[in-house]
Chain length 239, copies 2
DNA sequence: CGGCTGGTTGAGGCATCTCAAACGCAGTGG
DNA sequence: CCACTGCGTTTGAGATGCCTCAACCAGCCG
């Protein structure tokens, strides 16, 4: 039996509380429509006109960026409390596809209604800006990882980010289900699926992660710190 | 004598007009302080508390992201009309260093004053959000290039972006001065300085760019389209 | 002049990609 | 129940693009 770091009910977290406050604020102050989605459903598509932004109430989403010449990339992963659609504000139409990777619920908020509400509710405006800012910060960190980490470490860092996101939201982090194929992970991390597979195998061999019973899609993470340590070791070893 | 695509005075451009309108709006409606900077000056540093955002009135700036373990990366390049400091809104303190690469001027606007003005001037709020959104879109495009383009194409795409940015602002695009060393370019693009140097040499050999007289820091771009074409050829050749 | 910084170029090594084979699992239809 | 197929994964072997290391060059400044 693998070691458990925690099996307690979700603890209240600072991030979790912030998210809940924001959701409650929206619910009370801004008209919105709830929408239940299932794996594969698109929330919006590139070139759709922007009328709504979407905030994730539950579930897991990806945004897929694609260039005129047909290259495409998973540009971001989004969890409860994240917004979808910031990319569309500049041109008044979306620049990515936003796709559900799992059953979940998004709240659609008309952008004009949101702005109207923001003029009278400062916390709403502040929360909105913080969300955009956080998105920018995350993208920057992703770029940093892409540019400075070798493949193995990039995969480890990816898992660490996933686990951190779960933890911040009060969800269990010791066992996560990757709802992405190796090819998708590779696309996100800028490497080929075989490289992802090898990296995961090495992480397993080093006891940093484990796989649960049948199938190798659920990842067992006994200790999130071990992932960070693995990244650091990769860097130290290179130097 | 190299061919000239244009030697006209800067044409009015749509982007240029948008930028000028935004600058004028700020000037009229929001208290701000102008600050002249020179190459190497820092506009703000990571972990500084955020009180102001900065909009670029002239000059060229970079933002440098750094991780706790000491890795660092040039995360963005910023021209006239771009804002600096979005990264700091989430945590109320900056997450990057913002550094001038040239003589220029930034306008510092207190964030609280900006928000206050935004509540009464909808165009200001709209412009502000568009700027953040544009930043997100750019970061996404950068990630796409990092993940899908080989080194040569990445350098070509970098130059294309630079030239496009100049053109959008009504500046001449046939000859640009890279105020970055090869090492800095490489850091930004996720490759080593030697690789950048080789890529530039190949672009020169293929007549896609030229170098002006002495020194190889000024790049001559007779035709921006040729850079895009080079990128496409790299992709086609790979497939 | 001599030292320094930044750039170019070559040779060899290594990380990642490519190509290929085989496996496990789920779904389907006999 | 058992082929049989299809998709996602793993693993190996060889190719290659980029990195590393090193030499050399050009401009700049004290």
């Amino acid at each position: 039996m693998p070691p458990k770091t925690t099996q307690n009910p979700p603890p209240r977290t600072r991030v979790g509380e912030r998210i809940d406050r924001m959701l409650a604020l929206l619910e009370q102050q801004v008209p919105m429509t709830r929408r239940v989605v299932h794996a594969g459903d698109t929330v919006y598509q590139a070139s759709d006109p922007l009328t709504c932004l979407y905030i994730i109430h539950s579930g897991l989403f990806k945004t897929v960026n694609l260039s005129p010449d047909g290259r495409e990339q998973v540009a971001g992963l989004h969890f409860k409390g994240d917004w979808l659609g910031f990319d569309g504000i500049a041109e008044n139409q979306f620049a990515c596809d936003a796709i559900a990777m799992d059953t979940g619920e998004v709240w659609a908020v008309r952008y004009d209604a949101l702005l109207a509400a923001c003029t009278t509710i400062p916390q709403l405006l502040a929360g909105f800006h913080m969300a955009m800012s956080r998105q920018i910060g995350r993208d920057r960190d992703t770029m940093l990882a892409l540019c400075t980490l070798p493949a193995d470490a990039r995969v480890a860092d990816f898992l660490r980010y996933w686990a951190d996101s779960m933890e911040q939201r009060g969800l269990r982090t010791d066992q996560i289900t990757l709802r992405m194929t190796r090819a998708e992970i590779g696309n996100y991390l800028g490497m080929k699926l075989e490289t992802v597979s090898r990296a995961l195998s090495r992480l397993e061999r080093d006891q940093v992660i484990g796989f649960t019973e049948k199938g190798r899609r659920d990842v067992h993470i006994p200790n999130v710190r071990a992932l960070s340590d693995f990244v650091q070791r990769s860097l130290a070893h290179a130097a």
